[in-house]
Amino acid sequence: MQGDQGDRSRLVVELIIPRLKNTLFLTGVSALVAIPLALLLGISAALYRNSVYDRSATGFSLVTVSSPEFFTGYIFILLLATLFPVFPTIANVNEDTSLIDRFYLTALPVFTLTLVTMGHMMRMTRSAIINILSSEYIEMAKLSGATRYEVIVKHALPNAWAPIAQVITINLAYMLIGSVVVEFVFNYQGIGRLMVGSVYNRDIPVVQACALIFASTYVILNLLADLIGIISNPRLLYPK
């Protein structure tokens, strides 16, 4: 029995590792696209609050956050894989796929995941920055003649790291969950796809293992946000 258990867990690990790599690739690439873009959009929208730019950016982000992953995903398939077949419908990767092919094959899943999380991230960044810009020390900085650039870079940004870190980690976690549906839509062999299949088959050990991976990543991300919060806050760094 002992040996069986050992074999079984080794099988689970062997099953999971390549899938986990695929999922990390998908979410990693999406994060690399989504985070800088969302921060840029969010901060600039906050700075030019109520401008046409801000209104259209927030309006568009509202549409993207209102769309479930499979809606965005199938729109991409309809447009870029069926009507104008630029990319494949199915993101079929295996261990031998080259890196370039991987990028090509996962283009649509990455677009989907990026679009879905970017809206959230942008809106949260925007409100975090607006919140800071309305504090008294910002008014004080303006009254002491600080330029627009200085107000933002010297006065607002150092206080914005903690909330921005929060925003990023929340959305990385969100992206991780979103990847489950996106993998299903594009039939991408990731850990989410594996988990769903295992729930169908009532393969509890695999479900547990996948859940453990999701949960621990989630916890680590939250921990990271707290850590950045502490490092960027002099109140916690330099006690009275």
Partner: protein, 307 residues
């Protein structure tokens, strides 16, 4: 304003105060100033509600009625065609509003009630009850809701009742967090102390003193979580684990008809068929978001677009 400073009178004392208005006047002003997006949201929401309440009267065919032709094209007897086993898609879309909205509303309401009551109790108590509740909620929240639901559904088996209960309990953690953090701000205010000093019961303090003052953020959270639950249920249904057949569900319809997208080159309507239920979910979420944004704008007093 009185210029005669000599005859000071408490009655006529003025300063920067709000103009006196009845509740009805306030609502009227709010509606008269509602932006287009808010009106759009409210109209869309009412359409969904009408569809949900009167589904059997509006839908041209039955929810599970099977017709001979599967994947029938748009037009004719079946305005939006039929699905893979020959059920009328339009009718199923209408019936699905009833199922999805109903299940999500129940789950969200359960979450609201459990979360808020425990949240306020934790805020008032601030001793071991708060510690126990807060720490266990932290633990629950360490696992993403959808993943947690997966595990629980695979343990208890997928059924609509299980879905409602699982989501209701898991989502109550959000309401607990928000109601606790808002209520903590209220509990330290003197008006709650006055009620305590008067000797009022806990239930009076919760329902009469604190609840009316934290209602606005809770309403907003209800909207936000409602969307989230719709998304979670939809994702689960899309993956085949949510609302159980034969009950119609939008996300399940997306999956069932997804194959039609491949024929979009030949018949664009076929390609659009699976996207319609998905768009319906997106439109609903958008409508709720519009209404929330407007509500936030009215209640927060953040008049940030005057300048």
């Amino acid at each position: 304003m009185s210029d005669n400073t000599q005859s000071y009178s408490a009655k006529s004392e003025v300063s920067n105060i709000n103009k006196r208005r009845t509740r009805f006047e306030r609502i009227k002003i709010a509606f008269s100033k509602a932006p287009l997006s808010a009106w759009f949201g409210m109209v869309v929401l009412s359409i969904y509600l009408i569809a949900a309440f009167f589904a059997p009267f509006i839908a041209p065919h039955g929810e599970a009625e099977v017709f001979p032709v599967a994947y029938a094209p748009w037009g004719g007897e079946h305005l939006l065609g039929t699905d893979q086993i020959g059920r009328d898609i339009l009718s199923r879309l209408i019936f699905a509003s009833r199922n999805t909205l109903g299940i999500c509303f129940l789950a969200c309401t359960i979450a609201l009630i459990i979360g808020t009551i425990f949240g306020i109790i934790a805020a008032i108590d601030r001793s071991y009850i708060d510690q126990i509740l807060s720490r266990s909620i932290d633990t629950l929240m360490a696992i993403p809701v959808m993943i947690f639901t997966f595990i629980l559904l695979s343990v208890f088996g997928p059924s609509n009742l299980n879905l409602i209960l699982i989501l209701g309990v898991l989502e109550s953690t959000r309401f607990f967090r928000i109601s606790r953090s808002v209520a903590v701000g209220q509990v330290v205010l003197e008006y709650v102390e006055v009620a305590k000093l008067r000797g009022e019961k806990l239930s009076y303090i919760i329902f009469r003193e604190i609840l009316p003052n934290i209602a606005s953020p809770l309403i907003v959270e209800f909207g936000v979580r409602f969307i989230f639950i719709i998304f979670t249920v939809s994702s689960l249904s899309f993956l085949g684990l949510g609302i159980q057949p034969p009950a119609a569900d939008w996300a399940a319809m997306v999956r069932e008809n997804a194959i039609l997208i491949q024929y979009a080159q030949y018949d664009i309507t076929a390609g659009l068929t699976p996207l319609i239920p998905a768009a319906i979910i997106a439109l609903l979420a958008l409508a709720i978001n519009f209404v929330i944004d407007w509500y936030l704008y009215i209640t927060s007093g953040l008049k940030d677009d005057i300048k």
